[in-house]
Symmetry: C2
Subunit: 358 residues, 2 copies
């Protein structure tokens, strides 16, 4: 038993018996370099050799090891996308738009969940796996500038979200305040005077999405010379259907009068629609309802939900463009000093009047 054999044994601990390039090379009587060239479609090579190698790869069931390939080549052709939750229609649609764009450019998308809560979000962004992608898109909910910069990414990062973030990152935002004003303005013009705001918990965060949409609600009241009644601000436990349903029940119990509802998201609005039905209130006759996000479901409820298109698809397009430019820059080895300055884009919003308002 030679020393080499023993060494080999102990290095190989419980590893699955994967077929390697070396195995293929030996079986095809060529060098590993040649096998590599076949895999990567390097042209300078006799057709005969290529065929032989391909046949051996097939016979042996060879598949490349992505870790080794990435370690050596320094790229993966993979883009990572971090979203708060995997079961929110908004992010489902957004991820699909991003995946389409990424795949159209010959790369792959992988999706990871950051989860709710600051700790979990930070942990997800710090997750090592993200560092092996050619670029990362992070939808920021609660992370702040310092935290993001300390992560010290070495590949392009594009941020999506509403919080102030380091200017070191490209950043695409939606206009939460403007969109909310649009929504509430529409309610007022359609005759509502006492407009409840179904808001989520923002735990003291004054910069996040919930806080900004709340601000839009306030500003729209000012625009119309109305007094925003704090008693009409209803907390929503979770930003989902059940949260909206419960919020409406609570609102009804509070004995406050209201003739309009602006919900922080479409999901909450759809839950509210259901809650109103259960309470025997008619929409839009007794109460008008507006949501935010324009998820696909909003068009198909009865009544169809009036909502705000926050520019989701435009955001996706913008993100893809920014990403493309950065990936190219990095691939070309542009020095840090010569890189294009980070861009910050705010996407416009648009009101979509449907049946839940008059």
């Amino acid at each position: 038993l030679s020393t080499a054999d023993v060494t080999k044994r102990r290095q190989r601990r419980n590893r699955p018996p994967a077929v390697t390039i070396a195995d293929v090379a030996k079986a095809a009587s060529v060098s590993t370099a040649t096998v590599s060239n076949v895999i990567n479609g390097v042209p300078r090579m006799s057709a005969e050799t290529r065929e032989r190698v391909l046949k051996v790869m097939d016979d042996l069931g060879y598949w490349p090891n992505p870790a080794a390939r990435n370690l050596r080549a320094g790229r993966t052709d993979v883009v990572g996308l971090l979203v708060p939750e995997l079961d929110r229609p908004y992010f489902g649609r957004f991820a699909t738009a991003i995946a389409d764009g990424v795949e159209a450019r010959g790369r792959h998308l992988v999706l990871q969940r950051s989860g709710v809560g600051h700790e979990r979000e930070l942990a997800a962004a710090a997750f090592a796996q993200l560092r092996m992608y050619d670029a990362v898109i992070i939808t920021v909910v609660g992370l702040d500038a310092t935290e993001l910069e300390r992560l010290n990414f070495t590949t392009p990062v594009v941020l999506v979200g509403e919080r102030p973030v380091p200017r070191a990152f490209d950043h695409v935002m939606m206009d939460n305040v403007g969109g909310s004003r649009l929504a509430v303005d529409h309610l007022v013009r359609a005759g509502s005077q006492r407009i409840a705001f179904l808001r989520g918990d923002s735990r003291g965060d004054t910069q996040g999405m919930v806080a900004q949409r709340h601000r839009g609600w306030l500003e729209a009241h000012e625009d119309h010379g109305l007094t925003a009644d704090p008693g009409l601000v209803v907390p929503v436990e979770t930003l989902d259907l059940e949260g909206g349903r419960r919020a409406v029940q609570q609102l009804a119990r509070s004995a406050a009068t209201f003739d309009g509802i602006f919900a922080v998201t479409d999901l909450v609005a759809l839950g509210a629609l259901r809650g109103l039905t259960e309470l025997g209130m008619r929409v839009p006759d007794d109460v008008q309802v507006v949501g935010f996000d324009d998820i696909p479901e909003a068009r198909y409820s009865s009544p169809a939900l009036t909502t705000v298109d926050a520019g989701r698809d435009a955001i996706a397009r913008a993100v893809l463009e920014l990403l493309d430019a950065r990936i190219r820059e990095y691939a070309e080895g542009t020095k840090v000093a010569d890189r294009a300055p980070p861009r910050r884009l705010v996407m416009p919003t648009r009101l979509l009047p449907r049946e839940s308002t008059r």
Copy 2:
């Protein structure tokens, strides 16, 4: 200029200037092994050394390289999940349940889309990146036994789906035929006689989900001694809300009489509900409607949708258990011959009567 330096230069092509363990080791005046031990929490080490290394890591902004780590250690603590689409509520919920379980066991989940169509699904399953995860969950739509086996996976794979697949894989299925019978049986008992089936396109596939749910529709008719009218089978272009809405319109145009609808999925059923409302038909008075899947949205529509719980959460739990056992087996280096035989589970279904039926 030494040879080593030149070599280094050319190997480093356009690589981002990442901080490595070697940089940390040098700055902290320890060996790379010690740094590695700090990173991995190996206890035997003076607190003083640990502190110094941690401080240097922090100062330098060091983050481990996942490719190198995986290549060397042979594991990633990541589980991959392949789903057909990223924006279907069913898969959103399923992915969330899987992510919860995976994270509870100290691992991470990454989600990838396989896309619609056989070619895309195969390409997604063959995607090299999947091979670096500790295990992979594949929701199979159109792949068959041979294709899956040729992929020659070296890590555990658990299959979710309705198609016959190689017995070499653990496989969790839902009872599509049984669930559909339940749905149609419920419609008949509640008084429907002419029950339309809103089915998707299965392109001649006789094994897939659509075909199986169609079979349940047929069998339930037999059970009740009713004749299933082929004229009541309506194609659905896409398995989404719009598909359901259009299918109902087409059904109405066809002048066929119908007093019940069984939709192949909840999304299609919800679209149908909307379509019926637009046509001025009342649910459940004029037409009763049943869906399949129990997506969260089904509880909150007006009327709330009667549907079949296909055991989504039970499937997720079963998948997680199978996965756990396999990962342990692989980690312990159990020889192929000694591995537990693959398991095939069929999860039971359950009818959830709500407002769209009497």
